[in-house]
Amino acid sequence: MIEIENLRKVYDNKYEALKSINLTINNSELVCLLGPSGCGKTTILNIIAGLLDPTSGDIKFDGKSIIGMHPKDRDIGLVFQNYALYPHMSVIDNIMFPLVVGSNKLPKAEAKKRAQEYMKITKIESLEDKKPGTMSGGQQQRVAITRALVQNPKILLLDEPLSNLDARLRLQIREEIRSLVKRINITTIFVTHDQEEALSISDRIVLMDQGIVQQFDRPQNLYLEPANLFVAKFMGNPIINTFEMLKQDNTLVSQDFSLDLKKFDKDRFKCDLDGDKFIVGIRPEYFVLSHTPLFKTKVTVKELIGKDCILNFEVNNQAAKIIVDTNSNIEEGQELAISVEYENIYLFNLEGKRIY
């Protein structure tokens, strides 16, 4: 178990990368640190690995603090974004490297045997004598992971491991990573800025922004039950539509449409509706074409993405999007009659806190 308590990091240039982070990660869990660049996710990883020292706070592995401990004593495996394979060594030498250096070095023959065992697990036996420069990105990635695992660490840390791969390979390798870490049952922390990657492989996701954990939850909750406006805006593609609306009696009104508060599910309110201005979030897939529309508008741009297509339109003088089935054959310039699924609306106050 990894416990992170009140972790704070201020860099030498006074930039506060982390502001009091608290996380508990269970054994053999696969957790993603997700967020836009500069949110502090790699900083957390480097502090866990011991490559950076925190300004304050504590990290415990199985109840024992590891702050101040040398990276090599932390029982971790680390995979870098650029793989960091040594270009002058063959694959087997790269994988053996952790076993033949330091204070616990093994005899060469034994190290080689162990490296070969792990190469079998990651299915890269055939690459044994190749040099990193002659291999594809996916192969280098597998070698880097094998090297990280060869010391049999308790925790595997992966820093944006897929960002240097092309799109198709990324899909394949991320599945491989998930099945591998589940098979050997290792606690894994995975840093990424790609929500799709995070959603598809994680047991739980830590969504971060500006050095603060915005939400730490199961992937589908991040999408379906965002804790605040940032989470709602970050998760989902295309991005959620947000409208500022005024509360007047039992309706929320804006220039072009209004929402009836009586149709909202009372049990879903997290607190009372204080104030009169709110931000309404409606995902593009929860706008629907309807005969009893809330408003009518025209398609400005149509983007085809396959089974579905995204229609851009204007409402309240701002751009918005709706996703419809490609079969509906709607073209640019055509009129749209749009309604909304009330059960899938989100309400936030002006500070971004989720109300409904």
Binding site: L51, I76, F80, Y86, P98, Q151
Partner: protein, 272 residues
């Protein structure tokens, strides 16, 4: 118009090449002349007989074998020493974070601005007061570290991903293991260029050996040659033969490694 320019630039280049190469070629030609030919006016260009015995005569007149031995020893040991100190210093500057790193680097840059001739005096004082005159130590130790090469290697190491070092750290490799198993093999091109330049520098050194040695058996080729010129008086043809002998090895070295040398000089803008 374009043609005239091309012709002009060729004329210029050829003219400059002749001016640059002439002393060198004349040295070789004069080393094969008789005394009369070498000193005649107007000067002789091509000797009538190739006087190869000039070389054996010159070698007998001064202990050149000893000079060779001294020069090779001093150049080699100081090159190895420079490599060692440079590798360790550059590793610390580029891969480690420590207090005062910036100040130290600034101080080193400042040292780079101090002309060698200024340092020579204080170094001479140090060596003299330590009683190290006429020893190999005095010839070797002052050139065992070089600010210039530290900066040269720094720029090379900065291009090496820091994750290479972090991998070593996480896997438990010691700094020395990282240096010798990863950093040195990967910096081979830079280290190679450094070694050649440093060796040539050692071979050509003159002022320092003149200052700290005054017995023949400690002389290097540079000051050995100059001593020979003084002692042999007017034997110009023998002096030329001796000069040719001392230059040949470094010339061979240059032809073998010219790619590396030119790369090193171009990259740094200055020859070390």
């Amino acid at each position: 118009m374009k043609r005239t320019l091309t012709v002009l630039s060729y004329v210029f280049i050829i003219g400059m090449s002749i001016i640059t190469l002439f002393p060198f070629i004349y040295m070789i030609l004069a080393s094969l002349m008789t005394f009369q030919e070498a000193t005649s006016i107007p000067p002789t260009l091509i000797p009538s007989n190739w006087e190869f015995q000039n070389y054996s005569t010159a070698l007998q007149k001064a202990p050149f074998a000893r000079y060779f031995f001294n020069t090779v020893l001093v150049a080699t040991v100081s090159t190895i020493g420079t490599l060692f100190t440079t590798i360790l210093a550059s590793f610390a500057f580029v891969k480690l974070n420590f207090k005062g790193k910036k100040a130290l680097l600034t101080a080193l840059v400042a040292l780079l601005m101090v002309p060698y001739e200024v340092v020579v005096f204080s170094n001479y004082q140090t060596i003299a007061q330590l009683g190290l005159m006429n020893t190999y130590t005095s010839l070797i130790v002052p050139s065992m570290a070089s600010v210039f090469y530290i900066f040269y290697l720094n720029s090379f190491l900065e291009a090496m991903p820091i994750s290479y070092y972090n991998v070593a750290k996480v896997t438990g490799a010691s700094d020395l293991e990282f240096i010798f198993k990863v950093m040195v093999p990967l910096s081979k091109p830079a280290l190679f260029t450094m070694s050649i330049l440093s060796f040539i520098g050692g071979w050509n050194s003159f002022i320092w050996p003149v200052l700290v040695t005054n017995v023949p058996e400690m002389r290097l080729l540079g000051n050995g040659l100059s001593a020979f010129a003084t002692e042999s008086g007017t034997d110009v043809h023998l002096q030329m033969a001796a000069s040719t002998i001392t230059i040949v090895p470094i010339l061979i070295l240059y032809f073998i490694f010219r790619k590396q040398i030119i790369r090193g000089v171009v990259k740094s803008g200055i020859k070390g």
